[in-house]
Amino acid sequence: MTDATAPTGAAIAPEITAEAQAHDHAHPDLRVWGLLTFLISESLMFGGFFAAYLMVRGAASHWPPEGTEVELLLPTINTIILVSSSFVIHLGDVAIKKNDVNGLRKWYIVTALMGAVFLAGQAYEYATLGYGLKTNIFANCFYLMTGFHGLHVFIGLVLILGVLWRSRRAGHYSDHKHTGVEMAEIYWHFVDIIWIILFALLYILTQFS
């Protein structure tokens, strides 16, 4: 292995064999770490949008501009649904840690439904608001930011449906094998946290300022 001419030839001695390494499973699954690292990145993309929004807002004399007032009732209901879904999805995670696949499926189906209701609510809101993407700078920000968040909810929904699809196979998820379940949950929580900031910035602070 080591070159004979190396000054400290004997210093690096082989001990761990590939075989031994391949069969030692006492390590954390790296995919969760990968996802968490990636979500740092995602947060900063939203951070860029938030910063841009705050700068536009700071420079405006009237906020929101005429004709683009936000409506609060539907988005508040939507927010409650989305935030509660974070608790629901966690119940699914708790269930699989007790090896209860049916519990996992039940709670993940409920979460998926709640996510779908949120997206439908957002679509309804877009259709009934009375202004579009190009109306003015507030509308620009509003549609771009909620739209990007909606896209993330959709991706989260696909992840949850993926978990549900895979959980049909017996033994695919169990109390010691549930990384995929956890990743869908973490991503869902992330989408939720971003929504809370968005809701505060775009709705609450626009309405009460």
Partner: protein, 550 residues
């Protein structure tokens, strides 16, 4: 921290799950397709990036030919704008960053930490394959007028010239940005979680420290650029007005979002090179590196401080004085950890038994070039001077000393140093020396006169200039031709050595980091049995007894 295990059948084998029949080496055609071995991906990155280097270099030669005379007689001004935009974009996003991080990072990090592959081999391959379409988008944009707003693509210029080409430019940058984020996630998880248990943090090679800092920086800054570019894309194509002041938008927002990434991007281009320097210098000086911890921590310090200096690119954008003061000070502070590294390398060289191989020549050449580039950077960090030379050739001189004299010299040094490991063959030293001399003289001829041009007021990004600048411009153009010619001995050397060169031993330079403990080129999965680290990576010149006592 335990080492993560990569099951054998996941790590590198495409179809063959039978361990007994593991191929011990890849065939040439494996390099042209989807492959998840970090070594293949590293070489794919390097070769692709080098092709883009040639294309970007050709664009530079085109520009210098235009600038040989004060009149716009070689290319018309809009094509000149497209050339300068794409030259900058390609060199940054498709040559230096992918070659340094994607190429050497991928190839070396798993080998240096005793891992069989990266943490997410498939993600790694996908990240690479985002690069070729990005390059095609940039080159294809020439058929739609070419993006003309410079590599910064400031609105409003970028919103009114060649909208299709500009959109292609944006999508290309989003693609390489995505690739860069994927790579960053992969490197961070790999370096933190997948080291062999015996490789403690204080024995981690400095290149890995540098890649870790680089990845952290890419992870937090790249998505902010993506946010800015998405807003720009919407402005150009979907009628929004984020950057249109007449409709409530604000151009400065773009500059903030852009420079929040693009200032750290200069560290993305130089931190891995600092890592390469820290590997190469002790090997050829046969001395332990001076100040291991100082170098490791200064990478992290540069990464942190580098996030808080972006406004120094905007001193002339109507920035309020308190902001100029804050960002002048934070900019000057970055020089401290950078200086720590420079002095550590010089101290390592001091009294060493230096072997002037081609890799070492480039490393020492880098020291000279980069110090000059760094010093002009300090002058630019001070707002009053920056306002004076803003958007003149002084800026062009500064960043070419840093990016060519720093990053490209470092990449050359790395290629000469690790070529035997990657290909199993030695490069020709004589041709390497010719290459170095032509590069060093050519780079100084091209970029040194630009300082003078800049302080005398020649603006950058223009196809024509005042006749008083003719002589110095012709000197620059001559230097550019020399740089172009310097690639001839290099390419001949690389191609000939790769196919016919003398066989290399496992450790031709007598280096101590882990990648030299395996075969040249390394077998698939890197080692038959994983190595155990018993001493630091830079303990040159110490006897075996001294190491044993430690």
């Amino acid at each position: 921290m335990t080492q993560a295990q990569v099951p054998l059948d996941d790590a590198a084998l495409v179809a063959d799950h039978d361990h007994a029949q593991v191929h011990k080496a890849w065939k040439w055609y494996h390099y042209f397709g989807y492959n998840i071995d970090h070594k293949v991906i590293g070489i794919q990155y390097l070769v692709t990036a080098f092709v883009f280097y040639l294309i970007g270099g050709l664009m530079a030669v085109g520009m210098r030919m235009e600038l040989a005379t004060p009149d716009p007689d070689f290319v018309d001004p809009s094509l000149y704008n497209a050339l300068l935009t794409n030259h900058g974009t390609i060199m940054i996003f498709l040559w230096i960053v992918p070659a340094a991080i994607g190429g050497f990072g991928n190839y070396l990090v798993p080998l240096m930490i005793g891992a069989r592959d990266m943490a997410f081999p498939n993600l790694n391959a996908i990240a690479f394959w985002l690069n070729p379409p990005a390059g095609l988008l940039l080159l294809g944009s020439f058929f739609f007028g070419g993006a003309q707003a410079g590599w910064t693509s400031y609105p409003p210029l970028s919103e009114i010239t060649a909208p299709v080409a500009q959109s292609m430019w944006i999508m290309a940058i989003v693609l390489v940005g995505t690739s860069s984020i994927m790579g960053a996630v992969n490197f961070i998880v790999t370096i933190i979680m997948m080291r062999v248990p015996s490789l403690t943090w204080d024995k981690l090679p400095l290149f890995c420290w540098a890649i870790l800092a680089t990845s952290a920086l890419a992870l937090v800054s790249t998505p902010v650029l993506a946010a800015g570019l998405i807003l720009l894309l919407f402005d150009i194509n979907f009628g929004t007005s984020f950057f249109k002041p007449d409709a409530g938008g604000n151009i400065i927002i773009y500059q903030h979002l852009f420079w929040f990434y693009s200032h750290p991007a200069v560290y993305l281009m130089i931190l891995p090179i600092f890592g390469i320097m820290s590997e190469i210098i002790p090997v050829y000086a046969r001395k332990p590196i001076f100040g291991y911890k100082a170098i490791a921590y200064s990478s992290l310090a540069i990464c942190l401080v580098g996030l808080f200096v972006w406004v120094h690119h905007m001193f002339t954008s109507g920035t309020p004085p308190w902001m100029r003061l804050f960002f002048t000070i934070s900019t000057l502070i970055v020089a401290v950890p950078t200086g720590v590294k420079i002095f550590s390398w010089v101290a390592t060289l001091w009294g060493g038994k230096i072997r002037f191989t081609t890799a070492m020549l480039f490393a020492v050449g880098l020291l000279g070039m980069f110090v000059l580039g760094g010093l002009s950077g300090i002058t630019l960090g001070a707002a009053p001077f920056d306002i004076h030379v803003h958007d003149t050739y002084y800026i062009v001189a500064h960043f070419h000393y840093v990016l060519f004299g720093g990053s490209v010299f470092g990449l050359y040094a790395a290629i000469y140093h690790w070529f035997p490991k990657m290909t199993g063959r030695m490069m020709n030293e004589r041709l390497g020396q010719v290459h170095f001399l032509m590069t060093f003289i050519g780079a100084n001829l091209t970029f040194l006169p630009m300082h003078s041009l800049g302080t005398h007021g020649m603006p950058r990004r223009v196809a024509m200039y005042d006749p008083q600048f003719t002589a110095l411009n012709q000197l620059c153009t001559f230097g550019a031709f020399m740089l172009a010619a310097s690639l001839i001995p290099f390419i001949i050397n690389a191609v000939w050595s790769w196919t016919r060169g003398p066989k290399a031993s496992d450790n031709p330079w007598n280096a101590l980091t882990l990648e030299w403990t395996t075969a040249s080129p390394p077998i698939i999965e890197n080692w038959e049995v994983l190595p155990v680290v018993t001493h630091g990576p830079y303990e040159y010149g110490m006897t075996e007894e001294a190491l044993a006592v430690e």
